[in-house]
């Protein structure tokens, strides 16, 4: 029983981390259907930005490991990665907006390489250790252990999800995002500044990834230039499973993936974890071909 609760908690926590990265992914993905293979690298960039700020500006920030310092660093890193996202969009994605969708895949992978090896050139290929790390008390929940930090991070994921969901569902910009995702050209007739809305989305998506990167650094303690690769794939998986372009779905997808991994490890052993998770997802999609929350639209002919 305790063990089972522990598995659930592990899964929820890992899942909420995936969700955090998947949120930004899903936004960008939703609006321009971009298979943004550089998203994970923006996350990595966020982690390194936080690292640099803490290392070189640590003194100015008081050097303490208070939560406040971390929040400030996180905001700075978010601005930085958000801007990086803007530049990336401008340089590598916008010029290809009228071309077949998959061409952007090339520039995305190109950007991914450039970011990874750019950081490797700058910071060296060795992993770095975060100068400030979260220390946390463990609490017991139904016999399983979880730390306050973990609870906080799960809460952050949920809050962000609700916030983004509201933005997308209720606001003017959100509606514009959805409209662009369906027919960007038609949006011009509506007076929507398509470039700006897409930039805005990229900024938010990348800033979220940056925030997740700083959190990963502060929580796990280790960062390296390839840290974004696997999590980028997981975020992609979560975003699709959740239902394309649906941020609520992205979070659910992330959590589902986390739980699958946790239970897969327990049932089949850790070496079969991903086989279990992917096997389940494939089976799931065959039964429900539009993902967790993707609505089923009878397409008109």
């Amino acid at each position: 029983m305790d063990h089972l609760v522990q598995l659930v908690l592990n899964g929820l926590f890992v899942g909420s981390f995936y969700a955090l990265v998947a949120l930004g992914y899903s936004m960008v993905y939703g609006i321009i259907k971009l298979l943004n293979f550089a998203h994970g690298d923006i996350y990595m960039l966020g982690a390194f930005a936080g690292f640099a700020i803490l290392t070189f500006g640590g003194g100015a920030l008081g050097g303490g490991s208070s939560l406040l310092t971390l929040v400030i660093v996180m905001i700075m890193a978010m601005v930085l990665t958000g801007s990086a996202g803007l530049v990336l969009e401008r340089v590598a994605y916008r010029p290809l907006r009228g071309s077949p969708r998959l061409t952007v895949l090339i520039t995305a992978v190109g950007a991914s390489f450039a970011l990874e090896y750019g950081i490797a050139l700058w910071a060296g290929p060795n992993p770095e250790v975060y100068p400030v790390q979260l220390k946390s008390t463990t609490v017991h929940l139904l016999g399983a252990r979880i730390t306050i930090n973990q609870l906080v991070m799960m809460a952050i994921a949920v809050v962000l999800m609700i916030g983004l969901d509201l933005i997308i569902a209720k606001t003017r910009s959100g509606r514009a995002m959805r409209a662009i995702s369906q027919d960007p050209k038609a949006c011009l007739y509506m007076g929507i500044n398509v470039d700006r809305v897409i930039s805005y989305t990229f900024f938010i998506g990348s800033a979220l990834a940056g925030a997740a990167g700083v959190m990963a650094g502060a929580y796990y303690g280790k960062i390296d230039f390839l840290m974004g690769f696997i999590i980028g794939l997981k975020a992609f998986t979560a975003a699709v499973i959740g239902g394309i372009g649906n941020v609520r779905g992205a979070v659910l997808g992330g959590v589902l993936l986390g739980l699958l991994e946790s239970f897969g490890t327990a049932f089949l052993g850790s070496e079969w974890r991903d086989v279990f998770a992917f096997g389940f997802l494939i089976a799931f999609l065959t039964v429900k071909p539009t993902g967790l929350l993707g609505e089923k639209v009878t397409e008109r002919v």
Partner: protein, 368 residues
């Protein structure tokens, strides 16, 4: 029918034997990109140090040594291309090879080109299983390391052990061999075997699974990047018994990542290194002076590989493959960091020279 690339289409290899002129080239395939990109420079510097020393003393047979490094990226295809590039560059010997998986396809390339290999790091048994005459391992094998690990477990009177690897051939090799050794012992039991995926951050699922049956000893056989995280996450999960790591994790970064407190008392199976043997600090200082950084994993083995290569060529009085191989097989007692060198008939080290290290403060030191 021969082009500017040299060699014919029909000859056994395109390596022409220009024996006499110019420096003797030593080739090294090492990762400078990909997930093991950090290791490349360590190996390269180690080899460079040895070459400089040897050249300062007049080189081999009056000819200078020259190092040619190619990126293998820890990827089989890239490594194979790198090896071919070295063949084309006419290296006399190979002193590289870090990832076993990426080194395997290079064996036949070097073999067909008749280039003897001294592999400084990669150490899967599969490398010597093909019994290729040109392949020599300078690092202790998984079997030897597993034996050292089990010896330590017994010494501590451990009853149950959890083995964790990272699913790569090197790592799994050690856990498999360890499990085999453990099986032959009634008092000891493997209660959990886990394989994690390198490159992730959260190993709580594996940690939970490993701790399910309450082991008194954990042996991690992967690299320090994940090793550090695992130690930290095991400690966070309340595990306070022994954790031991294998040589891929021996780097002070392990302690940084795990956190100094968490890492205290962590053991490691490792061949001797200058950091741990008396007098080694002089070597370390020299390395530091030349490269302005600390030596890292496999700096020493690469250093030794070059020295062994030089020794063999000197003994053979030739740069011809057969003669070098003969000379290598006949080396006895040549001093390298892991002890006096003598190759077994399988071309592995007679004694792996494995020792147990322990984390004390911010350093890994010999466990006394």
């Amino acid at each position: 029918v021969s082009g500017c690339g040299g060699g014919g289409l029909t000859s056994g290899s395109d390596k022409s034997s220009d024996d006499s002129a110019g420096p003797i080239k030593l080739g090294m395939v090492a990762p400078t990109s990909g997930s093991s990109a950090a290791i490349g420079p360590y190996m390269k510097n180690g080899a460079k140090l040895a070459i400089d020393e040897i050249n300062k003393k007049g080189g081999v047979d009056g000819r200078k040594l020259k190092l040619v490094v190619e990126d293998g990226a820890c990827d089989p295809k890239t490594a194979a291309a790198a090896a071919s590039k070295l063949v084309t560059a006419k290296v006399t010997m190979s002193v590289g090879g870090y990832c076993s998986g990426a080194t395997l396809p290079t064996l036949s390339i070097f073999n067909k080109a008749k280039i003897p290999m001294l592999i400084p790091a990669a150490n899967s048994n599969d490398l010597v299983d093909q019994k290729l005459p040109n392949v020599f391992l300078v690092n202790g094998t998984g079997t030897q390391q597993a034996a050292a690990a089990v010896k330590q477990m017994k010494k501590q009177g451990v009853k149950s052990v959890a083995l964790i690897d990272d699913n790569t051939s090197y790592s799994k090799d050690i856990t498999t061999k360890t499990a085999e050794d453990v099986k032959s012992d009634k008092s000891l039991k493997v209660v959990s075997k886990q394989s994690v995926t390198a490159g992730e951050s959260d190993y709580s699922a594996a940690v939970t699974a490993a701790l399910k049956n309450h082991p008194d000893f954990i042996y991690w056989t992967g690299y320090y990047q994940e090793g550090g995280l695992l130690i930290k996450q095991f400690r966070q999960a309340g595990y306070n018994k022994t954790i031991m790591v294998a040589d891929g994790s021996v780097d002070t970064k392990l302690i940084d990542i795990a956190g100094k407190k968490n890492a205290q008392g962590v053991l490691a199976t490792m061949t001797q290194t200058p950091q741990t043997i008396p007098g080694g600090d002089k070597w370390v200082a020299k390395y530091k002076k030349q490269f302005n950084s600390d030596p890292g994993p496999y700096s020493t083995q690469s250093y030794d590989a070059v020295r062994i290569a030089a020794k063999a060529m000197t003994d053979a009085k030739s740069t011809q493959s057969d003669k070098i191989i003969d000379a290598l097989e006949n080396i006895d007692g040549f001093k390298i960091f892991s002890g006096p060198l003598k190759f077994t008939p399988q071309h592995t080290l007679t004694s792996g020279g494995f020792e147990i290290l322990i984390v004390k403060g911010t350093k890994l030191v010999l466990d006394s």
